[in-house]
């Protein structure tokens, strides 16, 4: 098991390293950082002055190593736009996004897992059809549209939840539903087909011949096998939530990393953008690693 984790970790680290190089070079080579800071109408001399002042005249490799080694010292650079260390921006904004991501994945789990199980246990029944209907609708509806509709119904017409902001727990309810809904179709369908396969497997017949029936049969004998693919997808979806927060946070005016990313892009704030891209990628990798480990824990055949 330890060897398995070590092996995966090496893969994750090398992907992370590659990612840091790609992000840095894309943002610093394609865009001229000095021009970005100076603005579009700046004079040539001004740009040159900024280039010297910020050290952009040095080679890109040197700057990369400076930036990359800084990450390990907790020095992520200074934001030109906010005029603050990027690290303090991240620390300020992260809690909102983490709350939103975790809550929306909880929404996904709470809707899709029970619905998937019920649909699998009663294939082609009314509940199966309702579940399919929910899945198709959730897949077809765009995020931002659902967000606006939710605000119209549950914040304006029937004022149960606040329209926007991030002060209290209630502020996160609507955005979590919106963000969580987008993952419901994939997870629910996987749960349904997975469990349906397992229910018809030989070892379930064995369990039934040993006298197990009903919910005990489903939970003790079938669910763990059926959850394997679901766990992988859920982890990927959780990673997606961080990326997906860009739109949802903007619609609901939540001051999280997603909104920070949008503002930094609009403000051409390269240090913040490159760190955010890198952080989102690392989060994604981390959850994939977590999924692999969880899967190996659940399925002994994967522990090689």
């Amino acid at each position: 098991m330890l060897r398995f984790i070590a092996g995966r970790l090496i893969v994750v680290l090398s992907v992370g390293l590659t990612l840091s190089i790609v992000t840095f070079f894309l943002l610093n080579y394609v865009i001229d950082p000095a021009q970005a800071i100076a603005g579009e109408d700046a004079l040539f001399e001004e740009i040159e002055q900024i280039r010297e002042q910020y050290g952009f005249d040095r080679s890109i490799t040197v700057r990369y190593f400076e930036w990359f080694s800084g990450i390990f010292k907790g020095d992520l650079g200074i934001s030109y736009y906010w005029n603050k260390p990027v690290i303090s921006l991240l620390i300020d904004r992260a809690p909102e996004t983490i709350t939103l991501a975790l809550m929306s994945v909880s929404v996904t789990i709470l809707i899709s897992i029970p619905l998937g199980i019920l649909a699998a246990l009663n294939p082609n029944s009314l509940i199966d059809r309702i579940a399919l209907g929910i899945a198709v609708t959730a897949q077809a509806v765009p995020n931002f549209w659902l967000g606006l509709i939710m605000i119209l119904i549950f914040a304006l017409a029937i004022p149960i939840f606040p329209v926007s902001g991030d002060k209290t727990f209630f502020h996160f309810v609507l955005p979590s539903i919106v963000l969580g809904a987008s993952s419901v179709p994939a997870v629910m369908r996987l749960m349904r087909t997975g469990l349906l396969d397992v229910i018809n497997a030989d070892f379930i017949r064995t369990a039934r011949s040993s006298g197990f029936y009903g919910w005990r049969l489903v939970f003790n004998h079938a669910l763990r096998n059926a959850l394997l693919p679901v766990v992988s997808v859920l982890a990927v979806q959780l990673g997606n939530k961080f990326g997906g927060s860009v739109i949802t946070e903007s619609v609901f005016a939540i001051n999280g990393l997603g909104r920070l990313a949008l503002e930094s892009i609009l403000g051409a704030d390269i240090p913040t953008v490159q760190i955010l891209v890198f952080v989102f990628a690392i989060i994604f990798l981390f959850f994939n690693l977590l999924a692999d480990i969880l899967n190996a824990y659940l399925d002994p055949r994967l522990r090689l």
Partner: protein, 537 residues
Amino acid sequence: MSDLLNIQNLEISFQSNNKNLKTVENFSINLNEKESLGIVGESGSGKTLSMLALTRLLPKQASVSSGSIIFQNRNLDELDNKNFYKEISGKKISMIFQEPMTALNPVHTIGKQLLETYLYHNNVSVEKGIERALEILDAVKLPKYKQRMDQYPHQLSGGQRQRVMIALALINNPSLLIADEPTTALDVTVQKEIIQLISDLRETIGMALIFISHDLGVVSQISDNVVVMKNGEIVEKGKTLKVLEKPNHPYTQGLLDCLFKLEDEQKKNQIKDTPIIKVKEISKSYKLPAKIFKKPEIIYAVKKVSFDVNFGETIAIVGESGSGKSTVAKIINGLINKDEGKVEIKGQNIEDIEISDRAKIIQPVFQDPYSTLNPIHTIGYIVSRPLTINENKSESEVKEEVIKILRLVGLSEEYYNRFPNQLSGGQRQRVAIARAIILKPQILICDEPTSALDVTIQSQILDLLNDLKTKLNITIILISHDISVVKYFSDRIIVMYNGEIIEMGNTNNVINIPKDKYTKRLMSSVFSLKKNDIKFT
């Protein structure tokens, strides 16, 4: 002895397209305590269904439409599902199945699966449960049984898993064990051990046994009484010895004939002394996917195999699954490339023979006639393809030829325009053979040509191959795991194990005086039902 189980007039119907199809009718059996009953029949005869009805494991579309089941003086029909599962399933009546590879839950340890089944039916402490689990694993003679508790099913071999399955079924000391083809999926050498184990455990535990099988030979070894089923009905029942000695129903007689015929001598080909195929030190290996920091592991499917096949000879390659026998056949057929070595056909290197020429010399017949025929083409088209591709003939000539060949394999002209799904398994295999011989090849490679077929059909196909062999003077390479088929059919035997040839020789010599240890095990594991085995009482 008292009655344990009494099933009267059981009827099972299948719901399909709003039609009710009766699949089992008038099924009545009576079983005493500690008795063993064999149920014999071909696939689709209803032997498994009737037992699934007893254990309430019928597929959703099937249901019991009438009949009564009395078990231990209790009418089971009066028991609702919940109580049936709690009081009967796994406690009084247990079942083991054909496929041990998938019958155990892959994500739970052996110990957990045993323990759960025991604690579910018995109100005892976990310690007592573990004690019992170890006891039963020891009883089923699982090697190193103490370490197995923490192992997962995938860490065990097929035979070991079937032992665990048996332990799982017996952990609650049931009064009745139903074994549904428990050895069919296992290698022959393991088969005999498992049969012996079930037989021994029945004695020690003192339970009754219902043994379902398509193999009369196996059933005759283990059961006191036998029931023969055909098309959902019982056609014959009685004491096993009596039924074997004096079958009343023509179907039973037919089954027995098929078994006995394999003992008779068959017509031999004229064998010339010159080899038609020369196989010299061929090897084929596969690389396992590489892991980080590890050299990729290499597995040899075939390792330095050499043999000759003479003109007109029938040579059999036998061995367990994974022994490399099919790989050898595929290499000779040119279907896969070898890594090393040389295959010569009629003195020519196989790589140097044009594919179209090769097709005229050597043709394959495969195991599964259900998937080897393209379902969207007619039989006529399928059989004619080799001709239209390789030879320049007019349409009427081709049709004439195809009909001639169909007749030769025992199919009438009517089949020309039919589709594969309108044919039975045996008929499909005849079509596959027709397609193989239409180019009049000199060599036929038959890879388990009968193992997917029922016994009666099996012997018909063997007859056909035998007939063609002498009529067309074909050299045959037969791949099989079935020693009785090999004995009936071949002049020489090659025994393969782990990719290597471990014994080779004249059929009678290899079967009667095997030299190698593994060959001995292989030969002794065959349940042959010999005519003189049946004692006349």
